[in-house]
């Protein structure tokens, strides 16, 4: 009856300000490239529509460049109809945004700003539930139950978290009944807001964001190819990978590790993938000065492999034994200084800050002394 692609949370124009400029540019470009990628998938899989379930834009007032370029890409994919519904980030009361879109949108873009039925095809009607506020605080899909759509199959389009599923990315944009599809007789309920792909029920899916924007979700970003054969027939869902930038957060627990360098390597993705990976390493456990030196060296060496790399060693606790300090010197002032710092770093009677400073000082000492 109808085949469409379900996606959401493109967050076009998201600045990614926490990253260096080159990484930011790369991440923004990756998000912009999602639109032609979805268009290509639609063409490939004969999808007539691409349903974007909210948060297409990251802000209520994105720059004109972001809006215009997005509309231009949609215009270029003239073989498909883009159904764009506001989310909590670009809610319907973002008047300037939607005014500009209404002004510049090509014919193959259908903006859903009001909770009124929209005919996707003569046989399929879309029931949109656009948020008018960032935090509507009510179930905007209530009206689906009584919406008159004749004999056409009913497709719901909503943005927010479900009642029994604390899934909201930012504190809950709305509260959607998880059985809304059944209660409203929907053939499919396309949801947005949750950036990871997730099935809620037989007819209810979160498509997830087509490009990851954080380390929260470990699944590969993808869109959903939805094929509906009839009002009551179960939908046929096919995930279509769309992500190009990998976000990986790894934890390295040093407890019981004998070879720090090897342990570190086990946390790393394959070499070919690293250039497009944002890698966030969290190290925890106890570590000796020598191992710390080795770990620092290993991290420094591998960090350059990644698009972006961060290693958080604040969870490390410095420990030391005689052999560690012997590596520095068996006796003498250098050794005495190292011993003093090691004792200070492990002294529970000292403040956390003082111990951390001593620990870092010891690391620096090893780094400098062992550079020879």
């Amino acid at each position: 009856m109808i085949t469409f692609i379900h996606s959401s949370d493109l967050h076009l124009g998201k600045p990614f300000g926490r990253f260096p400029e080159d990484v930011r540019a790369r991440l923004r470009q990756a998000r912009a490239d999602v639109l032609p990628r979805l268009a290509t998938l639609a063409r490939t899989h004969n999808a007539s529509h691409i349903l974007l379930a909210g948060d297409t834009f990251d802000q209520t007032t994105p720059s004109p460049q972001v809006i215009r370029q997005a509309l231009n890409m949609m215009r270029a994919a003239e073989h498909v109809t883009w159904v764009v519904m506001p989310g909590n980030h670009d809610h319907a009361n973002a008047t300037e945004l939607w005014r500009q879109i209404a002004q510049d949108a090509p014919p193959n873009v259908a903006v859903q700003l009001a909770p009124t039925p929209f005919a996707l095809t003569p046989h399929a009607t879309l029931l949109p539930a656009p948020p008018a506020e960032r935090h509507p605080g009510r179930d905007l899909t209530d009206w689906f139950d009584d919406a008159a759509t004749g004999d056409a199959l009913r497709v719901g389009l909503a943005h927010g978290s479900v009642t029994d599923f604390d899934s909201s990315e930012e504190g809950g944009s709305s509260v959607i009944a998880p059985d809304r599809a059944r209660r409203a007789g929907l053939a499919y309920l396309a949801l947005g807001d949750w950036h990871g792909q997730l099935q809620i029920g037989p007819q209810t899916w979160y498509s997830g964001a087509p490009e990851a924007d954080g380390f929260k979700h470990d699944k590969t970003p993808a869109a959903l190819l939805v094929h509906l054969q009839g009002p009551t027939a179960p939908p046929h869902i096919t995930p279509l990978p769309t992500g190009t930038i990998h976000w990986q957060r790894s934890r390295l627990d040093l407890t019981g590790m004998t070879d720090i360098t090897v342990a570190h390597r086990t946390t790393l993705p394959p070499l070919p993938a690293r250039a497009l990976t944002l890698f966030d390493l969290n190290v925890a456990g106890y570590i000796g000065p020598l191992d710390r030196f080795a770990l620092d060296a290993s991290i420094t060496k591998t960090a350059a492999d990644f698009l972006w790399h961060r290693a958080d060693l604040s969870g490390c606790r410095m420990t030391h034994d005689t052999s560690d300090l012997d590596a520095l010197d068996s006796q003498g002032a250098l050794r005495a200084a190292a011993t003093a710092l090691a004792v200070e770093a492990a002294d529970p009677n000292l403040s956390t800050e003082t111990r951390a400073t001593a620990q870092d000082a010891l690391s620096h000492l090893f780094a400098v002394a062992l550079e020879e």
Binding site: P15, R18, Q59, S63, P64, V66, N93, T95, L97, L362
Partner: protein, 872 residues
């Protein structure tokens, strides 16, 4: 290493020559030659051989080149633990370096490899420990002049210590410790100044944070403004929709029409109310008029009755007032009589008082007159006595002054007489019988000297006559006596005195009279100070007053005075009663007059009331007529009032209707105004929104927020790094200082025996940074090195090198000590002691001494090498 022989070819003065020193001993070797021998040339050449690269053209190397130019060639035969070798270098031309094992004449290293072999021999890079052991001509300090040389010397000391005392190196950390500390200091210096002020990347990070915070605040404010503008525009649009809705317009028009209709109806009803109110007001006037007529008639009747009552009442009052007036008149007359009687009694009492007072005065005057009579009599008697005495005084000239003059003159005569007598012949006669001797007929006095002068003829009765011729006094004496006698006689003649005794008697009489006069005058002054005539006048006046006196008995003045007071009191009381009675009478008279006037008035009012009420016989008919008329008008008034109230109750509020109309009109006008204003505001907001949104500020704000978080993290990491480096630096410094204390031990130990040769109980103090002595402690004094004499500093410099060399030798690494004209500042005594120290060290240490002081160094002993110069 020990040097066995030295060879220089084409070096400085040895142009085209080869100069050799051979036979150098393993202990002390002294090459003592005169100036210009070339000692410093050898010294510099050895230095260049060991410490200058063969490839260099450095200044020290160039200084070795002779004026004629050409390559410079230097070689040394040395002995090491591995055997004997020749080290040779050629500088500036055909540059080369070579090490040859002498045992088999095999070249074991060339050029750069030879340099490395030499460096290894010396123990380290740069100048090595050996550099420390070379003492140039006139050197007195321990530190070289240039920074580079200082660094090299420091490295040399480090290297020496590292080599000779492993435990010291271990304790101090040696050069590794220095490198670590330098690295830490460099790393910290990249982040902060010594005072902890941020610099470099840290400062940049902090600046980035500040800049991002500022920009974020700006952009965030813009975003807030944008959101506010969006909300405001939405509200404006909502308002416009409300204003433009057809329902709203219809509601406002309908309200206006209804308000107009209601106002017209209200105005019409108000007209009916006005007419009804006029009818009611007219009826009220009629009712009021009939009421007034009735009230006036009834009031006239009341007035008539009241006037009659008043007439009766005033008449009674008038009669009573007249009776009161008569009664008061009687009282007044009685009081007047009483008052007059009292006044008479007062006059009588006052007369008695006056009479008593006159008698008292007269009787006193009478007594005074009697006393004055006696006084006058006595005064007149005294006056006579005084006048008599005064007459005597006035008549006599024998005043005390005159008497004094007489006495003086008499004494003068007696004086001169005695003088003549003393020289004159005297005769004293004593009579036994009655017959007397006479002279010039007079008897000669008996029993007294009689002066005889000249011829004196005495007749002796019964006998005859006797003539006596006596010698007389001189004429001048006699003249003086005569003058005195004349003066005396003159004075006596003034008063008629016969002689001096008479004069005295007359003077006594006068004096007695003067006393009498004075006494009488005193008494008279007491009795009649104003004179006797005044006494007579007083007596006459007293007599006049006393003439009224009689001798009848007199009452006591107090009694008479009391009687006067009592009479006056009675008179005063009577006067008061009389005055009160007069007032009462006057008041009664006034009351009577008023009562009579009131009665007249009452009659007048009665006449007026009678006129108002009309004839008495018509009073009843008039009352009935007036009551009827009033009832009719009152009924009419009630009827009109009922009609009026009914209309008022049914009347719409015209003000409310007007207000309703005003409000409806205002609502339409306000809607028009509001629409214009809101439209204008919406346009302005749209412009503002488009401007702000067009800049993508929300995206920029989020971007900045992320950047700010990252920048803050970066700055925090750098702060933590700075803290860690600071802590590391302090830990290293603390441990190095602690270890350094251990470092000085061996040096002191090596120096101690050498120093004691020169100074017993002396010790050197070391500097923490340079690791060199910086002071000398002797007995109770502690002197900085720079304060010591040149000779002492020179000796300490050499001894310190010897100490280092001993440490070095103890580790089996022998390095020669080379002294070039050292000890130039030392005196003979000290130089001998220094020779002792050198000799002591030379037991296991090669020392090569170059000196031009042949005599002074003769006592040093040691090996004397062979020196020869040959052409090339």
């Amino acid at each position: 290493m020990k040097i066995l022989a030295l060879h220089l070819s084409n070096v400085r003065k040895f142009t085209g020559q080869r100069a050799s020193i051979t036979g150098i001993g393993t202990g002390i070797t002294v090459l003592s030659e005169a100036n210009e021998f070339g000692k410093s040339t050898f010294f510099d050449a050895i230095h260049a051989l060991f410490f200058e690269k063969y490839s260099t053209a450095s200044k020290p190397v160039k200084s070795l080149q002779p004026y004629a130019g050409g390559g410079v060639e230097i070689s040394a035969d040395i002995a090491t633990d591995q055997g004997e070798f020749r080290v040779e270098k050629r500088f500036l031309a055909r540059k080369s370096a070579k090490v040859t094992r002498l045992s088999d004449n095999t070249t074991i290293a060339q050029d750069d490899e030879a340099e490395r072999w030499i460096a290894a021999l010396l123990g380290s890079a740069s100048d090595g420990p050996a550099g420390l052991l070379w003492v140039r001509q006139g050197l007195v300090g321990l530190e070289p002049d240039t920074a580079r040389e200082k660094t090299q010397a420091m490295d040399a000391r480090r290297d020496l210590l590292s080599s000779v005392a492993g435990e010291i190196d271990a304790m101090t950390g040696g050069r590794r410790m220095d490198r670590v500390m330098r690295a830490v200091a460099d790393a910290l210096g990249d982040l902060a100044t010594q005072r902890g002020t941020k610099r470099g990347v840290w400062k940049q990070a902090a600046d980035d944070v500040a800049a991002l915070e500022a920009e974020f605040a700006t952009v965030n404010a813009q975003v807030t403004a944008l959101n506010a503008a969006l909300v405001a525009r939405k509200q404006a649009e909502s308002t416009l929709n409300r204003l433009d809705s057809p329902e709203g317009k219809t509601r406002r028009d309908t309200a206006l029409a209804l308000a107009k209709t209601a106002l017209d109806a209200a105005r019409a009803h108000a007209g009916l109310v006005t007419v009804a109110r006029q009818d009611h007001d007219l009826a009220a006037l009629h009712t009021k008029a009939t009421r007034n007529d009735l009230d006036s008639f009834l009031a006239a009747l009341d007035g008539l009755q009241t006037a009659q009552t008043f007439v009766n009442k005033t008449k009674t009052a008038s009669d009573q007032a007249k009776i009161d007036t008569a009664t008061r008149k009687l009282s007044l007359d009685h009081a007047a009589a009483q008052h007059q009687t009292a006044l008479t009694a007062v006059a009588i009492a006052r007369a008695a008082l006056e009479d008593t007072r006159v008698q008292i005065t007269a009787r006193k005057a009478r007594n005074d007159a009697a006393l004055l009579t006696t006084q006058i009599t006595k005064a007149q008697s005294i006056s006579t006595e005084r006048d008599t005495a005064n007459a005597v005084v006035k008549a006599s000239g024998a005043t005390p002054a005159w008497l004094q003059k007489v006495e003086t003159a008499a004494a003068d005569v007696a004086l001169h007489t005695n003088a003549i007598s003393a020289t004159a012949t005297t005769l004293r006669v004593t009579y036994d019988a009655a017959a007397r001797i006479t002279q010039n007929g007079a008897d000669l006095p008996a029993n007294q000297p009689i002066v005889l002068e000249g011829e004196t003829v005495l007749r002796l009765p019964g006998i005859g006559q006797v003539s006596i011729f006596a010698q007389s006094a001189g004429p001048q004496v006699k003249a003086t006596l005569a003058a005195a006698q004349v003066k005396l006689d003159g004075l006596l003649a003034q008063t008629g005195a016969t002689d001096v005794p008479d004069a005295r008697r007359i003077a006594a009489i006068r004096a007695q009279a003067q006393i009498q006069f004075d006494r009488a005058q005193g008494i008279l002054d007491a009795l009649a100070p104003a004179g006797i005539a005044a006494l007579h006048s007083a007596k006459a006046e007293a007599d006049l007053t006393a003439s009224a006196a009689h001798d009848a008995p007199l009452p006591a003045i107090a009694d008479v005075d009391a009687a006067v007071s009592q009479a006056e009191t009675v008179a005063t009381a009577a006067q008061i009663l009389w005055a009160q009675a007069d007032c009462d009478h006057t008041a009664a008279r006034e009351n009577a007059i008023k009562a009579e006037a009131a009665a007249d008035t009452a009659h007048a009012r009665l006449d007026h009331a009678s006129t108002n009420a009309g004839p008495a016989e018509s009073h009843d008919s008039q009352r009935a007529d007036l009551l009827r008329r009033h009832a009719q008008t009152d009924a009419a008034l009630i009827d009109t009032h009922t009609k009026l109230q009914s209309l008022i109750a049914a009347a719409p509020d015209i003000d409310t209707a007007q207000a309703e109309l005003d409000r409806a009109e205002a609502a339409i006008k306000a809607a028009q105004t509001e629409r214009a204003q809101v439209s204008e505001r919406r346009a302005a907001l749209s412009s503002q929104i488009q401007t702000l949104a067009g800049n993508g500020i929300e995206e920029r704000r989020d971007d900045l927020a992320g950047q700010l978080d990252t920048a803050r993290l970066a700055e925090a990491r750098l702060a933590q790094k700075a803290a860690a480096l600071t802590r590391l630096q302090s830990a290293l410094e603390a441990e190095r200082v602690a270890a350094r204390d251990l470092y000085f031990g061996p040096i002191q130990e090596a120096l101690k025996p050498l120093l004691s040769i020169l100074h017993s109980d002396a010790a050197l103090r070391f500097d923490n940074d340079s690791l060199l002595p910086n002071g000398l402690s002797r007995a109770d004094t502690d002197e900085p090195l720079e304060d010591l004499s040149g000779g002492t500093r020179e000796q300490i410099a050499i001894l310190t090198r010897l100490a280092f060399a001993r440490l070095y030798a103890h580790q089996g690494r022998h390095m020669p000590i080379i002294l070039d004209d050292a000890l130039v500042y030392s005196d003979d005594d000290r130089i001998i002691k220094m020779f002792t120290a050198l000799t002591r060290v030379a037991k296991d240490q090669q020392i090569i001494v170059f000196s031009c002081r042949q005599l002074a160094f003769q006592d040093l002993g040691g090996t004397r090498p062979k020196f020869e110069v040959t052409p090339l």
